[in-house]
């Protein structure tokens, strides 16, 4: 089995999984969550084209 990495697999894991740090020391995670929505829309439209 190859390590077949598609964008949707990366997105699901890197933006949906992992240890989340919260509180004062977090700077970026909230921004990423916002961008995730638009990225998912992008992925959906790319899939539709294929």
């Amino acid at each position: 089995v190859t390590r077949e990495v598609t964008l949707v697999d990366l997105l699901d894991r890197l933006l949906g999984g992992g240890v989340v740090i919260s509180g004062e020391i977090t700077l970026a995670v909230a921004d990423v969550d916002l961008v995730q929505v638009s990225l998912r829309a992008l992925v959906a439209s790319v899939d539709a084209v294929r």
């Binding site: 699901d12 999984g17 992992g18 240890v19 020391i25």
Partner: protein, 197 residues
């Protein structure tokens, strides 16, 4: 500002902030949060995957930044017990991913004439996804140390699942998953992204 890739057992020769027996693997001097673009996501994954090959790690969510070493040490101290427990759970194991796409693009709920019809279509689709998961996911889950199931994660996908399996059995598990149904896409081995939250 420090970018954090993962937390895990200390490893020699890697930039890390350590607190007791826990290490946070970092890149220092990061100016601003990385945009979640393909290249940056792939780089995060490459770094975490290479760490995971050399020792037990819990990947951080993409884009995790801390102000400085002090904040990071506090995190390792405050959540130390929980992090160690999670590390023990993933140690020696890898994640295998499985996606089941709808063979016919699915009972799609999109243009329905009324709100009621839309909700009914959505419910039907969810039930169909659950049946598919009962049939295809459950047997695989029984072979794994742990598993996570998401129904209807994307429009074209009935379910996606992640399985935590012994590294030595990853190949045979993946083979078994691929051969159980044509509609399954199997990926991995991954670092334990889905078992670190």
């Amino acid at each position: 500002v420090i970018y954090v890739y993962a937390i895990g057992d200390p490893q020699p020769g890697v930039d890390a902030v350590c607190e007791g027996d826990l290490a946070a693997f970092v890149r220092r001097g990061v100016a601003r949060p990385p945009a979640p673009e393909h290249e940056a996501l792939a780089r995060h994954d490459r770094v975490v995957a290479s760490l995971a090959e050399r020792g037990a790690v819990l990947p951080m969510r993409f884009g995790s930044l801390v102000d400085g070493e002090r904040g990071l040490r506090e995190l390792l101290t405050e959540r130390g017990d929980q992090l160690r427990q999670q590390l023990d759970h993933v140690r020696g194991r890898v994640e295998i991913g499985v996606r089941a796409v709808w063979a016919d693009r699915g009972p799609c709920p999109s243009p329905a004439p009324t709100g009621r019809a839309f909700m009914q279509a959505k419910l039907d689709r969810h039930r169909a996804a659950q049946r598919k998961a009962d049939e295809l996911h459950e047997p695989l889950a029984g072979l794994a140390a742990d598993s996570v199931l998401t129904l209807c994660p994307h429009a074209d996908t009935a379910f996606s699942a992640a399985y935590l399996v012994e590294r030595a059995h990853a190949e045979s598990f993946a083979q078994r998953a691929s051969s159980s149904a044509d509609e399954l896409t199997v990926t991995g081995p991954w670092p334990p992204y889905s078992f670190s939250g």
